[in-house]
Symmetry: C2
Subunit: 162 residues, 2 copies
């Protein structure tokens, strides 16, 4: 079977750039999600998870640390690392391996593809790229795949044109 796709003239095309309802996730909702996952909702954990849920910028550890430090003066990088590892293990977030050497994080654990702009290094969610078939085993769970695109984002395309 061959699938045919409409080839858009700009990237990301609107059909690949659906923006989901960006309702603010409250601290209470964050605490509830942590409790449901069996994680005791400490201050740093609430802060890190809340930041990831409401900032769809696929931050690095350092970005998270610097964003939260002013409000949490005693926060340490190690705690950010520990917290992210814990959230990943409980599948409350996902990691995005789209850079060569550093990991980025995404507060939305559901499958979606990502696009990295080679010009401005932004990372954009692509909610309308279908998830590739995930082979399942009787004995083992195969995790969601990562699907990463690379290129030039629409903003940078327009800047380069001008």
């Amino acid at each position: 079977m061959t699938l045919h796709y409409v080839i858009p003239l700009v990237f990301p095309p609107s059909s690949f750039f659906t923006i989901p309802m960006l309702t603010e996730i409250t601290k209470e909702e964050v605490i509830s999600r942590l409790r449901n996952a069996g994680i005791s909702p400490s201050g740093p954990r609430i802060a890190v998870f809340h930041f990831l849920c409401n900032n769809h910028i696929h931050p690095t550890v350092d970005t998270i640390f610097h964003a939260l430090s002013p409000e949490n003066p005693t926060l340490s990088r190690t705690t950010v690392y520990n917290t992210l590892k814990l959230l990943l293990a409980k599948k409350l977030i996902q990691s995005v391996k789209i850079e060569d050497t550093e990991v980025r994080f995404d507060g939305n654990p559901a499958f979606h593809a990502h696009f990295k702009c080679r010009q401005c290094d932004c990372i954009i969610d692509l909610f309308d790229v279908p998830c590739p078939a995930i082979p399942q085993s009787e004995d083992f769970q195969i995790e969601l795949p990562q699907v990463n695109f690379y290129g030039i984002c629409r903003n940078c395309q327009q800047k380069l044109k001008a």
Copy 2:
């Protein structure tokens, strides 16, 4: 349109594990490919590219360096880095961003998915996972996507059963 997939009992299932003809790529063929790409075929470049074409193990820089050092006693890590960067720019190879912090390399630049075993850390080519639709722009080339699966490979599944 909904697609239905046969769910295999073991992973990787045979249909996801097609092994292409693994004919040895000769040094002459390697030199020819380098010349066609406008790269002068120096000793280190031939060695690195030849290694990648004939060892489908998705090696790291360090693995390549240690594999080639005995035959090339003066080879330096920096040269391996430089050569890989050049081969990538000319699209003779591809990088595989499937680990958190280090990049792996693949002598086959054509699209195929990858699977990483969380148990033994091996990386397996999945030649039968279809390439997601690649949005194309009039002005900019969007590069091939990376599709990465994670889980437990068949070997480790059997070891864990026993």
